[in-house]
Structures are given as C-alpha cells and as structure tokens.
C-alpha cells in the first residue's frame, strides 16, 4: 500500500512468497536463528506459542512488546499514517483472514506464486494499480534511491 502510493518501502525488506503470505525472508531468518538486531531486541521478543493442533506442521510465534510505549520516531509522518490505516483495517482480522487477503487473485503474492513459484522474491512493482498516482519512472527513481540509502546505511 505504501509503495504504490509513495514509491517507497517502509521496511526496506525484500518479501518472498511463503505459504501464509509475503514474508521478509531476512527478518524471518533472524527470528529463527535468534539473531535479531539489538535495536529490535530492545523493543520486542518473539515467543514461540503452543498449538492445539498436533498435525500443525508450522511453528507459531507471537510478538511480545517489551515496552508499553512504542517509539514511533523512526517513522516519517506518511509512514505513521500508513501504519494507522493498516492497523485500522486489520484490527479485528484474524491471522487466517489476513492470510486470505494476501492470497487474493492477482495480489503481488498470488502473481509471484503463479509466475515464479513459492519462496521467491515479490517485486514491489506488482503492487502498482489504478490507485497509483505517481508514474513508473518516478516510482523507480524513488525505489532505487531508497535501495541506495539502505546500501549506504544512511537511513
């Protein structure tokens, strides 16, 4: 949603097609190997949760915040606005419902899964649709600019 509106990513992560939806693979691997950056560890911990279903082949995790007050200063006003929009949309949604939404026909996840396969990177530009007001050149310039910033650690 943020990319198609502004040509930028809030997280700078590359997302891949996982069974339950788009997953930032780097972050996922850091969670699995307990090697999250210290700045993340200071804010939250990932807790493995039990499941009632013995046949469930997937591990379940819960994000537990360590502080009552969340520091939003690492977000720009537009990023905060988007976080509020997304949290409003999904505030009552279950994990299953959120998964179904990411799997909708012609969603970036769906297109990537059908065209390239599972566990493959999802091209941000697949999010571009009729609601996108910026032209493709500008989106590309902004996205490249942000990638360069990430490479240079200048965020």
């Amino acid at each position: 949603m943020y990319f198609k509106r502004h040509g930028l990513s809030i997280t700078c992560y590359e997302y891949s097609t996982y069974p339950f939806g788009p997953v930032p693979q780097n972050l996922y691997n850091q969670i699995l190997s307990d090697s999250l950056p210290e700045s993340f560890k200071a804010e939250f911990k990932i807790v493995k949760t039990e499941t009632d279903d013995d046949d469930d082949e997937y591990m379940r995790f819960r994000v537990a915040l360590k502080n009552a007050g969340i520091d939003y200063s690492c977000f720009t006003p537009y990023e905060k606005e988007m976080l509020e929009t997304v949290s409003f949309i999904f505030k009552e949604a279950t994990a299953k419902e959120m998964t179904e939404i990411t799997h909708l026909h012609n969603s970036p996840w769906d297109k990537t899964k059908n065209q390239i396969g599972m566990f493959k990177p999802i091209d941000y530009f697949l999010a571009v649709d009729d609601e996108t007001t910026l032209d493709i050149e500008l989106l590309k310039e902004r996205f490249d600019l942000q990638k360069e910033q990430c490479l240079n650690g200048r965020l």
């Binding site: 977000f75 720009t76 910026l134 310039e141 490249d144 600019l145 360069e148 240079n152």
Partner: protein, 134 residues
C-alpha cells in the same frame, strides 16, 4: 556562523549505488558546530525526464530542479531529490572520501527547504533542518 553551513554541497566518493561504488553529490540543509552533529542532506542526480518538471520547486514530485551552472560541478539539469533525507555526521566531512564543493546561496537553500514535503522526513531530521534556519 557555524563551522559547517547549510547549503554546503559535497561529493561522497565512497557512496554505493545499485551498480557499485559511484560518487554522489549532496547538498546539506543543516548546519553543524560539533564533530558529532548530524547533518541532513539531499542527493542530487542528473535529471533524465526534464519534460516532466520545471526549474525550481516541483512539490508534488518532491524534486527541486537546478539549472546547469547553478554550481560549478553541474553541467546538466539536476534534481535534488527531496523524498528521502540522508544522514551524515560532521566528522565525516573531514574524510578523504568526501570532497567539499560549492556553498549554495541562502535564497536557494531556503527555496529548497520550502519545497520539502515534511511527510517524507523523519521528525528528528525536520527539527535539525528547522533549527538551522532559526
């Protein structure tokens, strides 16, 4: 007057782009006095799509276009890309990989600052810029 002034342009020779290491030109929009002061900068790129823009502020695109000759090192129309700020430290300005260039006139620096859509800028960076214009 600060030790490092807003409007200072510089070339970062060690900047990495998608194709590898390539120098990038920047303009600083904040002052610095102390070695660990943060400097908020914006990158300058040669503009390939000039037909879309006019010289000076293009707020809806977050591009400030400068004409050739505005700075001694600018020979083609150039975009100052305002949708993402870059953070440097004053101490980095003394490194061999940074080449200090021209100082932009105050009027131009204010025009650039007033072209920024603050929705794209971190609150901390906004404060540093605004404090430099007080």
């Amino acid at each position: 007057m600060a030790d490092f002034n807003k409007g200072q342009t510089f070339l970062d020779l060690k900047s990495v782009n998608i194709d590898g290491i390539k120098g990038k030109y920047f303009i600083a929009l904040s002052d610095a006095d102390y070695i660990d002061d943060e400097i908020i900068c914006f990158v300058m790129n040669t503009e390939k799509f000039m037909s879309k823009y006019m010289v000076n502020c293009n707020k809806q695109y977050q591009r400030f276009i400068i004409s050739p000759g505005t700075f001694s090192f600018i020979s083609k129309p150039t975009s100052i890309m305002l949708e993402k700020e870059w953070h440097y430290r004053f101490e980095e300005m003394f490194m061999d990989t940074i080449k200090i260039l021209d100082l932009a006139p105050d009027l131009l620096v204010r025009q650039i600052k007033n072209c920024i859509d603050w929705g794209y800028i971190l609150p901390k960076a906004k404060k540093i810029i605004e404090d430099s214009f007080k």
